[in-house]
Symmetry: C2
Subunit: 194 residues, 2 copies
């Protein structure tokens, strides 16, 4: 964290020395990952180096697969880190996503160890989203030490949340069934084949 | 399309016959895929069958990796199909995402072959988003027959768009560099290592 530009420049330097270079990013490099900064650095240095981005499984869908199916309808992905994005813009996005009934995925819920952004996000979401709405909290999604909590928006702040946690807030159609979050899409299940 | 409940029920039936069943979904089954309906059908039939969801690369991030790095900041994913979601809700989400400067990914831009939802979405986005904003149009992302167009929001409707097309609309920080869409995150590139 904070060394992204340096990492991209070192990678480019090696590539300019005619090496085949791989930049490894956790999750999907195109979602809050290194893809953008690598392309920016290459362009900025006017280097004639081809860059291929290999997509991966991002924390949002990794967490969703563990929680059930909370993201099978429209969703918004928001990082609570205000290191690069002004807080006012993050707040506006939280308002927009909450008021339009998106499922919401929060990345970096405790950026730089600070809890204030999460508390503010919690308050904004509660202005629009019912307190009983299911929320999934996944630490280290798909990695060693994975921890999963299914709770409600109201009780979100009682969950164990840190920098490697992904939070998935359901929409108005999300329910808990057999411990899994499912965002109902409105299929008619009545036609019985069984 | 339209046979999702039936597919899920057949899969469950086979599982109840003690078979190990795999339901294959294109992209990520948790994003507009079969994950939700399978869990719903299993719960609805009160079947004691464990279901594991394996996440994959969804069209949004597959398309993003081909286009460059348009989704490295906050983004919203919206399907334009009003088969299961009322159009008013889709419209509200388009308004919210556009007005809050999210990058926007549109799935099912021509659902059931209809062009009207896309035209309405286009008009809503243009109320808030600058006409020169970069837009990527990817058909068959990562598959045989892949086609990529990088254009602007203003010219979106001139692109070749069908049901297997994913549209990625940049945010106010998205630019085109060397033909790639990059959403700048605000890194300081000036510290020169090279």
């Amino acid at each position: 964290m904070g060394k992204e530009v340096e990492r991209a420049k070192i990678a480019l330097q090696k590539a300019l020395e005619n090496r085949a270079v791989v930049m490894v990013s956790s999750g999907d490099p195109g979602v809050y990952g290194m893809a953008g900064i690598v392309l920016e650095v290459v362009a900025n240095e006017k280097a004639n180096i081809p860059v291929e981005i290999i997509p991966g499984v991002t924390a949002a869908t990794a967490a969703a697969s563990i929680l059930g199916a909370p993201l099978v309808s429209d969703f918004a992905v928001i990082s609570l880190s205000d290191l690069l994005t002004p807080w006012e813009k993050i707040e506006k996005r939280l308002e927009a996503a909450s008021s339009a009934d998106f499922s919401i995925v929060l990345y970096n819920p405790k950026s730089e160890g600070r809890i204030e952004p999460l508390i503010k996000a919690y308050e904004i979401m509660l202005k629009y989203i019912k307190p009983q709405t299911p929320v999934g909290v996944v630490r280290q999604a798909g990695r060693e030490g994975e921890q999963v909590t299914v709770t409600t928006l109201k009780d979100l702040l009682n969950a164990n949340i840190d920098m490697v946690t992904t939070i998935v807030v359901g929409n108005s159609a999300t329910k808990i069934v057999n411990g899994k979050m499912i965002t109902a899409r409105g299929y008619d299940l009545s036609q019985s084949l069984l």
